[in-house]
């Protein structure tokens, strides 16, 4: 299955390199939706996401010669759209990225947790079924620093595997795992006041 995708990719890449119009249309239609879904989650704005996808495709068309086939074409395209989205985010932000340390658990010198941990009474199903809670979760995800939010979006929401995300972000799989764990811990801290103290 994987092999047939790669063969399919190489044929598509060959057609793109020789400028076949049908290949450009195919790549836009085949991958555009998924790229838009990722861009929307990273940018939290539909129009910005549309711009990012357009910029990403045009950048991909210009640099198709540099695609070396070591990753899937879709992974390469995601890498480009993530980079475009990151540039857009950085150009809008006035402050540098905040540290995530304050959102991570703290420990006593003997290794025990420094603060008691309350039980979350809301069930997973309750969270999944309430639009209001979903909106709160989305806003807390937006509050995460970009480098952590991107990993959380790609791994936990878009459900790409660790290796693929590592290729998209050009970091090691180990770094993906560490960032994902920190991102989940930070998000847990942000959600704790909302989901940790309800008796409903």
């Amino acid at each position: 299955m994987e092999e047939s995708f790669i063969q399919d990719d190489s044929e598509l890449v060959r057609a793109l390199r020789v400028g076949e119009a049908a290949a450009f249309e195919r790549i836009v239609r085949e991958y555009g939706g998924r790229l838009l879904a990722v861009a929307e989650k990273l940018l939290s704005n539909h129009d910005d996401a549309l711009d990012a996808v357009q910029d990403a495709f045009l950048s991909a068309f210009r640099s198709i010669e540099s695609f070396d086939g070591r990753s899937l074409l879709s992974t390469w395209l995601h890498r480009i759209v993530v980079n475009v989205a990151l540039m857009k985010l950085r150009s809008k932000r006035r402050r540098p990225e905040q540290s995530i340390d304050d959102l991570l658990p703290t420990f006593l010198p003997d290794g025990h947790q420094a603060h008691p941990v309350a039980r979350w009474r809301r069930s997973g199903q309750e969270i999944a079924e309430q639009n209001e809670l979903q909106a709160i979760v989305r806003s807390k995800i937006e509050d995460l620093p970009d480098s952590y939010r991107i990993v959380l979006v790609l791994r936990d929401i878009e459900e790409f595997d660790t290796e693929t995300v590592a290729q998209m972000l050009e970091i090691t799989p180990g770094a993906v795992k560490v960032r994902l764990h920190r991102a989940r811990q930070a998000l847990r801290t942000l959600l704790d006041p909302v989901l940790g103290n309800s008796s409903k």
Binding site: K41, G111, H112, G196
Partner: protein, 83 residues
């Protein structure tokens, strides 16, 4: 294993990637530490909450047709004169 170790290995524990010895130490710690049990439960719920916060994320949205046409038209015109 203490709380610091338990929380550090949480993701690998949930993914079933811990070596057997560490897995058993983790289970023992969780059976003894209520705070880490609560933390594990909320960590799991955080993951599922992220997924359920975007209920349509797996449905492959299509690009608007005007955007498809705009991209293809720009590509046809060749590289932009960016300055």
């Amino acid at each position: 294993m203490n709380c610091r170790d338990a929380l550090e290995f949480l993701a690998d524990y949930l993914d079933g990637n811990l070596p057997l010895k560490q897995q058993l130490s983790m289970r023992l710690h969780l059976s003894l530490c209520r705070h880490c049990r609560h933390y594990l439960d909320s960590y799991r719920k955080t993951i599922s909450a992220s997924r359920s916060a975007f209920p349509d994320s797996k449905s492959c949205e299509e690009l608007p047709e005007d955007l498809v046409q705009a991209i293809l038209a720009t590509q046809k015109r060749g590289p932009r004169a960016d300055g």
